[in-house]
Symmetry: C2
Subunit: 249 residues, 2 copies
């Protein structure tokens, strides 16, 4: 059976399980100490890259659908996904299934609920699903070189914007940095997300003022320069800041 026929067979089997108008698209960003990557897949019968998304089941909470879809399509199950935006232009999916005839239920208009997460890619053991040929981390800097399906480029851009806004009012870094880290490593994380360099003095002052760091009685040894102090997150204050926001006013 060729890939397109296989897709049609599976699609027919799944027809009654799903709400045809509703899909979720998880945007998982990976941070590898210097650059951001995003998790994408390529299906067997198409050249375009896709977010690892899928339809919502009729009897399934939306959040549960996003988790299931990411698990089924990429093998990732230990990530907290946060809903960030809805993609609902009426023609957004019109061309994606244009080589199928009208009997395909996917041809009905569907909107997509965008979820995002910032994730440590070292934790991921990616698993490719039966419809895909590849499931990979693609550097954001390389996105302009690949073809993306439907409005998935817009979804990724909006997720990145949301992530950048979020670090104005929520702490970030837990599970992305080693347990003990230097301020310079934390600054690098912020710079990577923001896509620009920050003034070191300002950053150190502001980040210390948040009250979410604990200075340890240890230094990072071995560099060419003066050994820098090590920090860890103050778990209680970090959690509180996550719940209540950083309260800039």
């Amino acid at each position: 059976m060729d890939p397109q026929q296989q897709f049609l067979k599976k699609s027919e089997e799944a027809k009654d399980l799903f709400i045809p108008h509703l899909s979720t698209d998880p945007v998982v960003f990976g941070f590898d100490q210097s650059e951001l990557k995003v998790l994408l897949l390529q299906m067997t019968y198409r050249k375009q890259w896709l977010l690892p998304g899928g339809y919502v089941k009729k009897d399934e909470d939306l959040d549960a659908a996003a988790e299931r879809v990411l698990r089924e399509r990429a093998g990732i199950s230990d990530v907290y996904l946060e809903e960030f935006a809805v993609f609902g232009k009426k023609n957004r999916s019109e061309f994606y299934f244009e080589d199928f005839d009208e009997s395909l239920w996917h041809k009905q208009r569907f909107i997509s609920i965008g979820y995002y997460a910032l994730y440590n890619p070292d934790n991921a053991n990616l698993i490719i699903d039966e419809f895909s040929e590849k499931c990979e981390w693609i550097y954001l800097s390389q996105l302009s070189e690949i073809e993306l399906a439907m409005d998935h480029r817009e979804i990724i851009e909006k997720a990145l914007l949301t992530l950048r806004e979020r670090i104005s009012y929520k702490p970030i870094g837990y599970n992305l940095l080693p347990e003990k880290f230097t301020l310079s490593e934390l600054q690098k994380l912020y710079e990577t997300i923001l896509g620009k360099e920050l003034n070191r003095g300002n950053f150190y002052r502001k980040i210390k003022n948040l009250g979410i760091l604990r200075k340890l009685d240890e230094q990072r040894r071995g560099g060419a320069h003066k050994s820098p102090d090590l920090y860890s997150f103050d778990e209680e204050n970090y959690k509180k800041a996550l719940e209540n926001g950083l309260n800039n006013w």
Copy 2:
């Protein structure tokens, strides 16, 4: 025809126009110099209060649906609505139509896309639609005393949380304050949104540092105290800050 019969008749007429699984709920906050209010309506055949929401048409962009629904149900058409969250629990609408039989298409599961806006209620000339008995501004402090339909209380709370987070990274106040205002009036707006008092010195310092204010060569006269300086927004910088965020880092 009693209200419930009228609803059934209109519902049957509208059946083919809408996606039954998809509605939008606009949360419009009004600021009246001292407190926040929210726009709600009460339908003729029910005691519960509702957000002025409705279904999305099959051939309609999502954003356009939110605008249309607010216009049709409350008469408001000059407000910029921003999508903020999706409400997609599988049982969320289960009980709302329980006094109708299964043939009613509304009984199918639907998710709701939440939109919100902060609005000057002086601009509003509220118009009640044919299904409603009331369309009113209700103070947030009075919400605990009324009965709200489905998960609409949760939708309002999430909208308020989003608004509070938003003022960490976006300017606010344009179209809500008079053209010329005092810093104390601006502080009152922030305090009303945040639901708490702010330190005056800190607030003045931070708000001036944003670069979005122009100090005028005028004072507010007539009070018992020293006449305070008047300010207006620097339109260009305000717009820039709206687009790029306030850049706390």
